[in-house]
């Protein structure tokens, strides 16, 4: 058995064993009194120095090694690296929580993010590999010819990748500040160092081998806590197999809790609160002045009476924190109103699909589910940092096989995430719901301190109703070790896994961005005569600049940029998917068609996001542009329109323009092998 493994597989087996030993040693040390903070540091230092070691060992100054790892990565390892490249901090930390909060509706993420790999295997990977250059803009440039299409592709690749990389670095900052109590900004730059140690010295080659190492850590870290939890709840350590039973228990507990008198009461109170805010918003600006006057009157009353100074100070603080002007008040009160409306809604059973009060609401849920699946699928099959990985295998056959392995390794995580959600719900329903607030389990108050859990006793009965509890999605994965009563070393392991997920994705994205800038813009367009030595110098300097830029943006804690990640899929899908697929499968597609299609798809997608999501853009001094969504489709699924528009535009414009000529013909013969078998006819 062992002898049949390749040399590389044996290396990584030793590495995995070494990592497990390290975790075991830490567990022993914790037992002997090692403080949690030191455990956190040990994980941070150990894992980052492992990545650095691999990065230094794989350093290279060869162009092909730097961009496509010398096309020497076997299918199995390319699959693993793609898995790590693919699964970001959001997949690792956020997905389980999203599934907890949205039940069936959240499963769209798992389906979309895995279904996309079917499209990659069927439509793209083998042809990209047979073409065998360096980047995705390269492919489009060779198929359609001309620099314009290359530039549009570069722009779209950077647009989709940059926000994504910022979110990863932000994730690193959050993880390090949560688990080793580094200051957030310092955490961000620690993360930056962790990213640069691999990508700077060895490009794709170093990143690939580090990603394999990171995959091992992230999957161990993801599965261990929920396996232990599953064992303690059901006696079976394979959560994916047994959580159906747990789901049934959840279902019966839901039936019992949803319509308990306390729950109904709490929901009614939230509905009242929502009405109150709605009234206040309607009566702006008068309501704001009234509120300020009321507070002032109360303060004056108290000052003249013999009230405690502490109470007066508290009220004065309240007055200071009132919104400064009607615009701010509207924004803040609207948020509070929506939050209250959310809590006043009757809860939905976890496994129930497409619930709603009437047929129209159910239709909207259903259509949004499928639209999201569509966008995530097509986006997955169009994200440049994923597609790039299929240039790195030795043969076309291995490129196909490596899509299989990619999906296999990604499945392990996506099939576990719903189990996390169900076990967490089981815990909440059996140990939190209808319990006295003073007697809640320890993990609740621990995570309430960092603001990821919040409890408000709106009906003042001292008992926790489900409507009164709000959980941040991130808390599900982060708190599972504590929920199951595991030692701190498991929490440290989870942190190391989340860190691996964030770093590996950031590495892949950075290479995509710098590849697009240095290879496509600098080398292909500006200086085709540049020496290979100099191309690498340019590439590495750009990498440094982009990485520092991304870290600087992340250090500002930009709220909106994080929600922008969800849009990256629609943007990438609309820009790339139609041009790539038609470029391979429809010989009539022309340069003008592709160019128009990419521009139309990309702009429509961005336009839809902006119009649905924002009402004003201050720096362009545009106001009042918000529109009603088309067919009730949410902005994260704008790709539905972008991709369709892209396909239609390419077809229509291509039919009206002349074929791209012999270069395109030769290109197609090469990637399709279309001469083979012709003579038999």
């Amino acid at each position: 058995m062992f002898g049949s493994l390749t040399r590389l597989q044996r290396y990584y087996l030793f590495y995995t064993g070494g990592f497990l030993l390290f975790v075991g040693a830490l567990a022993l040390l914790e037992d002997h009194g090692m403080p949690p903070r030191w455990i956190g540091y040990s994980f941070l230092v150990f894992t980052i120095s492992m990545y650095a070691l691999i990065g230094i060992m794989s350093r290279t100054s060869d162009v092909s090694e730097y961009y496509v790892a010398g096309r020497k990565i076997p299918a199995f390892f390319n699959g693993m690296a793609t898995g790590a490249d693919w699964m970001s901090a959001a997949s690792f930390i956020g997905l389980a929580g999203t599934l907890y909060l949205s039940g069936y509706q959240g499963l769209a993420f798992g389906i979309g993010w895995t279904g996309g790999f079917v499209l990659v295997a069927l439509l793209l990977a083998p042809y990209l590999r047979r073409f065998g250059e360096y980047t995705i803009p390269d492919f489009l440039g060779a198929r359609y010819g001309g620099n314009a299409i290359r530039l549009v592709a570069v722009f779209a690749a950077i647009l989709a990748s940059f926000v994504y990389v910022v979110a990863q670095i932000y994730g690193v900052g959050v993880i390090t500040s949560c688990f080793v109590s580094l200051q957030f900004e310092i955490g961000v730059f620690v993360g930056l160092a962790g990213i640069l140690v691999c990508s700077f010295l060895g490009g794709m080659r170093a990143v690939t081998w580090t990603q394999v190492a990171q995959y091992v850590i992230l999957i161990i870290a993801y599965i261990t806590p929920v396996a232990i939890l599953s064992f303690s709840v059901t006696g079976n350590p394979v959560p994916q197999l047994v959580y159906g039973k747990v789901l049934q228990e959840v279902r019966s507990m839901e039936d019992q809790h949803f319509n308990a008198p306390g729950e109904v009461e709490a929901r009614r109170l939230y509905a009242e609160r929502a009405d109150l805010y709605a009234q206040k918003i309607m009566q702006l600006p008068h309501s704001l002045m009234a509120e300020r006057e009321e507070l002032s009157a109360k303060i004056n009353d108290m000052k003249s009476g013999d009230a405690q100074t502490r109470d007066i100070v508290a009220l004065e603080k309240q007055r200071r924190e009132l919104p400064h002007d009607p615009d701010e008040a509207r924004l803040r009160w609207e948020n509070l109103m929506f939050a209250a409306v959310e809590r006043s809604r009757p809860p939905v059973h976890h496994a129930e699909a497409f619930s709603g009060e009437d047929e129209a609401a159910r239709w909207s849920m259903r259509i949004n589910f499928l639209a999201l699946v569509f966008c995530l699928t097509v986006g997955t099959a169009a994200l440049p940092h994923i597609l790039m990985r299929y240039y790195t295998t030795p043969t076309v056959k291995q490129a196909r096989d490596s899509v299989f392995w990619s999906l296999f390794f990604i499945l392990l995580l996506y099939m576990t995430a719903p189990a996390y959600a169900v076990f967490a719900k089981h815990e909440v329903l059996s140990h939190l719901a209808e319990m006295p607030i003073s007697h809640l389990p320890g993990w609740v108050s621990a995570w309430a301190k960092v603001g990821l859990v919040s409890i408000e006793d709106i009906n003042g009965d001292g008992i926790l109703q489900l409507a009164e509890l709000s959980l941040n999605p991130d808390v599900i994965v982060l708190a599972t070790p504590e929920i199951a009563g595991m030692p701190y070393v498991i929490s440290g392991l989870v942190a190391a896994g989340a860190l691996a997920a964030a770093l590996s994705t950031a590495d892949g994205l950075l290479l995509t961005i710098t590849g697009a800038l240095s290879h496509d813009v600098y080398y292909r367009i500006f200086r085709p005569q540049a020496s290979t030595q100099f191309r690498l110098v340019i590439s590495k300097s750009l990498l440094l600049v982009v990485a520092v830029l991304a870290a600087t943006v992340a250090a500002q804690k930009p709220g909106t940029i994080l929600s922008m990640v969800a849009w990256a899929f629609s943007i990438a899908g609309s820009a790339f998917f139609p041009a790539l697929v038609l470029g391979i499968f429809w010989e009539r597609a022309t340069r003008q068609g592709a160019l128009a299609g990419m521009l139309v798809g990309l702009s429509l997608s961005v336009y839809y996001i902006v119009r649905v999501e924002f009402d004003s853009i201050p720096w362009l001094s545009v106001r009042g542009i918000q529109m009603e969504p088309w067919f009730q489709i949410q902005s994260t699924s704008s790709g539905v329109f972008g991709v369709l528009a892209g396909f239609v535009t390419i077809v229509v414009v291509s039919l009206f323009t002349r074929n791209s000529g012999d270069d395109a013909r030769r290109f197609l013969d090469r990637v399709r092998r279309s001469q083979v078998g012709r003579e038999v006819q």
């Binding site: 895995t114 699909a353 076309v396 083979v676 078998g677």
Partner: protein
Amino acid sequence: MKSSLSYWQKTCRLTLWFLLVWLLLTFVINWYASELNQFVFLGFPLGFYLAAQGELLIYLLIIWTFNRRMNALDAEFGIDDE
């Protein structure tokens, strides 16, 4: 005896079939999730199970079968890329 179709024509035909299976699975099955939820499979409501595990496993199966068929096609036409 070789059939009269070229390598590329056969590739396209194969791709189209697998793509149809994928489309059916992804967009038709999920459309009826709430109806499927009335059945129970391995303790899960069926619609939920398919979305959480079943479809993902079938995706893997689709890729595996497609790769096998493509390898056979490559062998039939004697294609050995790089």
